[in-house]
């Protein structure tokens, strides 16, 4: 093991190569399994995933080309006490973010209090159409994916909050199913908390946010269609919840209500779990060239004729520009100290921050404020001179479009690679569900950067996934 890797926090090994207690039993099991056997399990998993069609489409490749997200057979393990802190922290954060969204679209107390600057109202993700609109139970982000990274035994940071249409939960569920199939003996041996009830919790929450007076609400999942990169997930979740998977063309608006076209005539829809971005959801209100949305949907929504999950306009709260204010939001709305920390963040719109960042570009991670999926991002320590220079020019052209953060020494987790088991960087995305209650199932999507030394875990950039186990201590 080279020294650069050794400095990092590893989920399984302590600095002196001793095993962290939570991994003790698993490590001794792993030691007894030959590499070849793990490799054949990995291949079996790949075969099964392909057969089931758990694939994603990659933009920019052949239309309809389908790829598998690499699956790693070594799980990430967290103890129940670690988990309870993460889960409390994530819930606290999402509660504050929902209160913030309600506030920013109503009285804007947080701006009046001088905590968040009024410039936030000109953020492109702020939707003036939502001002004064009341949404059921005041919930905007019904599903939130909170990206967490770890740098030490007790050091967890929130990298970002995903409040628009966060994806990846199908991998949490499918990876678990796969692990139970590949290694049933491990599930007999360890008390691994179950995650399979996620769709049921989500459905209960979605039913709970229907308009007042609807007793048997009809919930549907709105997908952009079979060629969307996350189509498998949309189909999977709809199936697990037993609800219709609809496309824009299946819905229409009449008399301040939304209906779907069925073989028995039109049927009223009450709650839409939509996996289409704000921009595409209603061609009459947003992008007129959208073929994916439903004309007139926004006007029904604003009048309370249908519930959208997540709400329109949540993007203003998960924007990288807004991120820095989340700890203050927690104090302001909940009167509590944040349980989870933010990563220290430089705003390049500020002159001092810009100066510092340009001088330390090679040490920092620079992100586009409104970018997603690892596109338009610079990882200083991994970049070539040429790339650094190119990015410097891009920053100078529009500093306000960027933020920068120190390069975090993301924890590593043992991962099966060609040469055997080796450490690879990981992150964690638990999904916080709000509706009837605010809760999480004990599990998460764990993403792993499969390339040696890489810190980019996004599936579009060659990342893979692992099952996440929450174990009783």
């Amino acid at each position: 093991m080279d020294t650069a890797v050794k400095k990092l926090f590893d989920e399984m090994y302590l600095q002196d190569e001793a095993i962290r207690p939570i991994y003790a039993e698993y490590a001794s099991w792993l030691e007894g399994v030959p590499h070849q056997q793990l490799e054949s399990k990995r291949q079996e998993a790949e075969l099964l995933f392909r057969r089931v069609g758990i694939t994603f489409n990659v933009y920019g490749e052949d239309a309809g080309a389908e790829r598998l997200i690499p699956f790693d057979v070594v799980p990430r393990i967290l103890s129940a006490s670690e988990w309870s802190r993460l889960s409390d922290g994530a819930i606290q954060r999402v509660k504050a973010l929902n209160l913030f969204l309600h506030d920013i679209y109503h009285d804007q107390e947080i701006i009046k209090a001088g905590i968040v600057p009024s410039t936030i109202l000109s953020n492109s993700q702020y939707r003036p159409e939502m001002f004064g609109v009341d949404v059921p139970k005041g919930i905007y982000a019904h599903i939130a994916g909170v990206d967490l990274v770890r740098t030490g035994e007790n050091d967890f940071y929130v990298l970002e909050d995903n409040l628009r249409t966060p994806s990846g939960v199908s991998y949490m569920l499918e990876n678990r199913k796969m692990m139970m199939r590949l290694f049933p003996e491990l599930f007999r041996r360890y008390p691994i908390a179950p995650v399979e009830h996620y769709p049921q919790v989500l459905l209960n929450n979605l039913r709970a946010v229907a308009q007042a007076g609807v007793h048997e609400p009809t919930v549907v999942l709105l997908t952009p269609g079979a060629y969307n990169s996350a189509y498998f997930e949309h189909a999977f979740i709809a199936q697990q919840m037993g609800i219709e998977l609809v496309e824009g063309q299946d819905l229409f608006v009449r008399n301040n209500a939304v209906y779907m076209r069925t073989t028995e005539g039109p049927k009223r829809v009450d709650v839409i779990y939509r996996r289409i971005d704000d921009d595409f959801i209603d061609p009459l209100s947003f992008r007129p060239d959208s073929m994916l949305g439903v004309p007139g949907l926004l006007s029904v929504y604003r009048n309370g004729g249908v519930t959208l999950a997540n709400a329109v306009g949540t993007g203003v709260a998960d924007d990288k520009d807004t991120y820095i204010y989340v700890p203050e939001m927690i104090r302001f709305y909940l009167g509590e100290e944040p349980i989870l920390s933010n990563v220290p963040t430089y705003q390049l719109s500020k002159e001092d921050d810009l100066k510092y960042v340009l001088a330390h570009l090679a040490e920092l991670v620079v992100k586009e404020v409104q970018g997603s999926g690892g596109y338009g991002m610079l990882v200083g320590p991994a970049a070539s001179k040429h790339e650094l220079e190119e990015f410097r020019q891009r920053i100078l052209a529009n500093p306000a479009n960027y933020i920068a953060q120190p390069t975090l020494a993301l924890s590593t987790c043992p991962t099966l690679v060609e040469k055997g088991i080796a450490p690879r960087h990981v992150d964690l995305r638990p999904f916080v569900l709000s509706g009837k209650t605010v809760s999480l199932v004990p599990g998460a999507l764990c993403r792993v950067a499969l390339r040696e030394g890489s810190l980019v875990v996004n599936s579009s950039q060659g990342g893979g996934t692992k099952d996440t186990w929450i174990l009783k201590d």
Binding site: A235, V246, D250, Y259, T262, G265
Partner: protein, 316 residues
């Protein structure tokens, strides 16, 4: 159920059935080509296959002369030919992908696996090796699809639209096969009999898996009118027109919403022809005319199903 979902289910089943029938025609034509027959050229032998499956103009444009290897390539693997086995299976899988939520997991996985397995035949010259194996594979995947869907799917509207697609398509295919072959084999009241005839008629029966059934039902030499009777009027023969409509009519009754009366009427009218028709009368009218009219009416029924259920209007 969503109209779009019903549409995908119906067409998915039709495309799988279509792939199976194309494979049957290829298989049987190939087997007939192995029987020595000086009177028949390669083109004589393979042209009917193109007539049954449709697309003879497209073939002439792209391939020119009718040859065994050309027809096999065109009907099995041609990605440009919308009625090739390749295109039918691809469309089936695309339709399935759009409604995987509605299918039972086993049914979806079965269709997905079918498409993945299809890869093994890509790039092979089927005429040189493996045409029989290919056709057997297509048939058995189609059997598997029906078995898996029958054995695992809830008996709801999704299942009904799937079955509806299967039998509308099958009726069309059986009628086409019989029409084209009967026409060719029975020019103007000519005498029948002899070894070649025997092979040809038995080949047709085999194409619809009816050879054993024929022996069992008639235990007699193969005679053209009995073949026709078997494939048109016998309700107990699973690929006959009568059998298809004995499936179709109750399905349309069950799907009966407030709009379905015209579908039911059309299907019931066709069903009655098979239930109460007599082979003698059909022959008097002319089998060709009877089949041609049936293909047309069956097509109309398909269009009515499309209008009623699958492209639902958007008024409340």
């Amino acid at each position: 159920m969503l109209s779009r979902t019903a549409d995908h289910l119906y067409w998915m089943a039709r495309y799988i059935e279509r792939a199976e029938n194309i494979a049957r025609v290829l298989d049987v034509t190939y087997n007939m080509s192995l029987v020595p027959n000086a009177a028949q050229t390669e083109s004589d032998l393979w042209e009917p296959a193109l007539q049954i499956a449709g697309g003879i103009e497209a073939y002439r444009r792209d391939y020119g002369e009718i040859t065994a290897s050309g027809v096999v390539r065109f009907m099995a693997m041609d990605t440009q030919n919308p009625s090739s086995v390749y295109s039918a299976l691809r469309s089936a899988r695309e339709n399935a992908r759009s409604v995987r939520v509605t299918l039972s997991a086993e049914t979806w996985e079965n269709i997905n696996a079918l498409w993945l397995e299809f890869g093994q035949f890509l790039g092979l010259d089927l005429m040189q090796k493996g045409l029989g194996e290919f056709c057997d594979w297509v048939k058995s995947r189609s059997h598997l699809f029906r078995g898996v869907s029958f054995g695992t799917m809830l008996r709801d509207d999704a299942f009904r639209f799937l079955r509806l697609g299967t039998f509308i398509e099958r009726a069309d295919n059986t009628a086409r096969l019989l029409d084209v072959k009967y026409h060719l084999l029975l020019p103007g009241g000519e005498e029948v009999g002899g070894a070649v005839d025997y092979y040809e008629w038995s080949a047709i029966l085999r194409a619809v898996s009816a050879f054993q059934a024929y022996q069992k039902v008639f235990s007699d030499a193969i005679e053209p009118w009995k073949v026709a009777e078997l494939l048109v009027l016998r309700e107990d023969m699973p690929r006959s027109l009568h059998a298809c409509f004995s499936e179709i009519t109750p399905i349309l009754d069950q799907l009966s919403g407030r709009h379905s009366s015209e579908c039911r009427r059309l299907a019931g009218e066709l069903h009655a022809r098979f239930r109460y028709g007599r082979m003698n009368d059909i022959f008097q009218e002319g089998l060709h005319e009877f089949l041609e009219d049936f293909i047309f009416s069956n097509h109309n029924l398909g269009a009515e199903i499309q209008r009623t259920f699958l492209n639902a209007p958007s008024h409340v």
